[in-house]
Symmetry: C2
Subunit: 537 residues, 2 copies
């Protein structure tokens, strides 16, 4: 692989029209690193989207074989550059090597998952209602419906997953698999990693002679780059992972377009953890250890980090708090991702003090010590404590802090725990720790939880989101804008597809998925019955 | 059934707090009819939604048996009042009796379709990924995901379908089937029909001892009634069928809420019909007859009415135009739905003259005749003619006119037909009439059509939307806001549901659809494989 150029990747071109230059910062030295990157110009964004539009027809109708081979070869190509990628990602994020290796492997696995999904093919949700007589009027027509790609998709990568939620990440791969060309807006926190990944994609597209518009990468620190992308009339949907603030401002632009488009966002979550009384009456060492692990994995910069723990205050929970503090003092610590994350983290945790009246219990500060400028260097783990009564008195102003912080919320009794958790906003996950004897109580609360959260976790922790079929990584606002999609797992593909119905069509013009002979041997619903069979003649 | 009271139906109450009164107008005499209706007050809307919220938990977890019996009994109850309903609907819409009977029967059939869907149960799209070992880390959790109801839904009925897209119509029934309580905003064009239907629902809820909040009906002519509904914090989704203008203003309000909610709309469509050259070289009498039938069914007040016909001008198409005019002069004519529809129709057809430079060819006006005030009485069928070149020269400003009108667009050649149809906005349907020999050409154009339209029709006409499984009644903007849902057919249920994932859950707390024994015997995806089996122990 050539060295970094700081260019935009516009189809098969490297493009350098942008003006304002910037550099990535070393997470270790704090120094800016080569090369200079540029903010993509409006013309570059336009060209990327126009190429995507021009490639739409080809990619929408490309055979599953072409699509899956592209995804698999891309995994090989990225794997061949893994050392270069890991080195640059380490410099740009400060993540330790095992974390980055795990994430890179996850991304390669993710490419394979979607290659399999495309090859198997039943994801298109084919439904056939054959022509039938209708007593009351003319015969009902032959209707055949399947999911088809929406067209060019714009994707915004996340700061915290330089591989798995970025240039070859969940949104991009699911959009490609659906049959959509993608223009990625790289996250400015790791532009070098983005470029290296983008070059891999560019290589594979060239080597397989695919239309160049299937992929472009535009980069920049300025909002106008992303704004130009979401406002481009040929972009048909957006995939976004990031903050509520950033997501909301881009989402608002998509709703003001002449033609509004869907904006699929994953905007973070408070991930409340409820600990029912019985667990504190037994040995809590596993609970403590696993809570801390879930809280500090990826240095807490995870959308599913457990941000709040609710429990009923008693002698046992006082002891457990001490146990947690002891364990916290021994936990490994890492720097935050970058200075922007660090300052937002400082601001958000300060809000916990101001808005929730929460008391910092880790790290302990002596009373007279003046509060210093926030420092991203270890220790960054923060624990706060507050009573439910105080939170309710302050108006229950819930906000997320992105980083390793957890607020322990002591409740007077279960009734108060119910009252305070009912004030929580929508989210990705809610976790419950309980004894079997407490299932009856849990059953009473369950429908309030499922109304607000995408995933309910039983005696387990919310971090760790497998790329599976049953995965649900999304939830009601403010976790996302509609809560009806998932950004991780195979069902992520549905976001970038749209049902299309063919009425009384000749066989030769039908997509293979809807032809009577079912040449792809996929599962279809035929006259209300699921089957892999051909239609009867 | 008691006589009409003009009250709001708030759960089991009849409520009369609103101030500004109005009456429905007889479609035959133009005279206002008893009783006076009131615009629902803000308090009434609030109470309706709060009752819906309170009924959410019950209805979300009610057994399929309870839900389907409710739907079936409602069909019986409505059928028992059919004479009263048909009489009032006739007075309020002016539709002829066969049209109303057909629509009422369709609505009863629709209730049965969703009762069957709920009983069968596989619509919840259950997916189970069982716990499995993971070489790289801790074992992957047991994840089980299914669709669950979003919560209280607000529904706006349409003017043109007093039964099938109204108080017991597609949006309401699909939301109920999904497990959502519904608050309906009745269309002010037929408030009496709405009230009569609402009383049937109220009766069935009372007789079955169901929570009253499952259904309320608020009525009014003023925008503030609907605005209060879409802005209520406990409303979780909207179903809307109506005009782009009305839909867009309500949609904008949902996006400005503290918590935005999905707005599922069906906003109409131009429904272009393309006639390839070969069909004019054979006998066109069937084409002409069926086009006119599709154009005038329901007096053209159908979202799928073919609004534009595109063809390549030649001697044969000149002859065909004469044939169409002759047939049009013999076609049965009806009054438009109401004075509001009539004045909007006059305004919209006037735009065809002004914006597209189209020439009215039916009914023929003598040049000197002064253009009179628009009159809703027959004949209301209008035909216009224009060349593609003129439309393109005027900037291709496409607009829909709601009523019996069709614009014939003559193209110079196929290339010009392609150019002009590429300027069309998104829509519900596109229809193509072609000979088998023209399939190759159609194949080349097909991907441009599927990118914009929800349903592509081959040698058939777009009106007539069966309530099937493969039905797709939706499309890209401006047919709807996202094009990913359908408002008719069984898949309409998905709009009012949201995936929820249960991680490592005890069997007794799982919904039956996700329990290992599969007690409901539904189709589920288990570890990537579709099956109706239990999980292996």
């Amino acid at each position: 692989m050539d060295s970094l150029t700081g260019s935009q990747i516009i189809g098969q071109q490297l493009s350098d029209h942008g003006d304002e230059k910037y550099r990535a910062t070393s997470a270790f030295s704090g120094e800016p690193m080569a090369p200079f990157f540029r903010n993509a110009s409006e013309g570059e964004v336009d060209r990327a989207v126009c190429l995507a539009r021009d490639a739409s027809g080809f990619w929408a109708t490309a055979s599953p074989d072409v699509k899956s081979k592209f995804l698999r070869e891309l995994a090989q190509r990225v794997n061949a550059s893994r050392e270069t990628l890991l080195n640059r990602a380490s410099l740009e994020t400060g993540y330790p090597e095992p974390r980055l290796t795990m994430e890179l492997d996850r991304s390669l696995f993710q490419l394979g998952v979607f290659a399999n999904l495309v090859e198997e093919g039943s994801w298109v949700d084919a439904i056939i209602d054959q022509r039938k007589a209708n007593q009351a009027g003319p015969p009902q027509p032959d209707l055949r419906r399947m999911l088809r790609p929406v067209g060019p998709v714009g994707v915004f990568g996340a700061s915290n997953f330089p591989f798995a939620i970025s240039v070859i990440g969940n949104d991009v791969v699911s959009a490609w698999a659906a049959g959509c060309p993608v223009v990625v807006k790289g996250h400015p926190g790791h532009p070098g990693t983005c470029e290296l990944l983008g070059r891999c994609v560019q290589d594979v597209i060239r080597s397989k002679n695919l239309p160049e518009g299937i992929f472009s990468l535009v980069q920049g620190t300025q909002n106008r780059v992303g704004e130009a992308l979401v406002q481009h009339p040929s972009i048909r949907a957006i995939g976004f992972t990031g903050s509520l603030r950033g997501g909301k401002s881009l989402w608002a632009l998509t709703q003001k377009r002449t033609e509004p488009i869907p904006f699929f966002a994953e905007l973070g979550s408070l991930n409340p953890t409820l600990a029912f009384p019985a667990i504190f009456r037994r040995n809590t060492s596993d609970f403590t250890k696993n809570l801390l692990a879930s809280l500090t994995i990826g240095n807490g910069q995870m959308c599913t980090r457990p941000g709040f723990v609710f429990y009923v205050k008693c002698r046992e929970t006082e002891q457990w708090t001490q146990e947690l503090l002891t364990a916290a003092s021994l936990a490994p610590q890492q720097p935050l991702l970058n200075t922007s994350v660090a300052s937002q983290f400082a601001e958000a945790t300060e809000q916990y003090r101001v808005q929730l009246d929460a008391r910092q219990i880790f790290p302990l500060q002596t009373k007279d010590e003046p509060k210093s400028e926030f420092d991203a260097s270890p220790p960054s783990l923060h624990l706060y404590q507050v009573t439910a009564a105080e939170v309710l008195r302050c108006g229950a102003k819930w906000t997320e802090a992105f980083g390793p912080v957890c607020i322990l919320v002591g409740c007077k009794d279960l009734e108060e725990m119910k009252a305070i958790t009912n004030t929580l906003p929508g989210g990705l996950t809610l976790s419950l720790h309980a004894d079997p004897a407490e299932q009856t109580l849990a059953a009473q609360w369950l429908s309030d939880w499922t109304a607000k959260f995408g995933r309910i976790v039983w005696n387990d922790f919310p971090t760790g989101v497998p790329i599976g079929n049953a995965t649900q990584h999304g939830g009601p606002y403010p976790a996302s804008f509609d809560g009806q999609g998932t950004s991780i797992g195979t069902r992520a593909i549905e976001r970038f597809a749209r049902p299309t119905c063919y009425q009384n069509f000749p066989e030769t013009l039908l997509p293979p998925e809807l032809q009577s002979d079912n040449p792809r041997h996929i599962w279809r619903q035929v006259d209300g019955r699921l089957t892999q069979d051909k239609l009867p003649h």
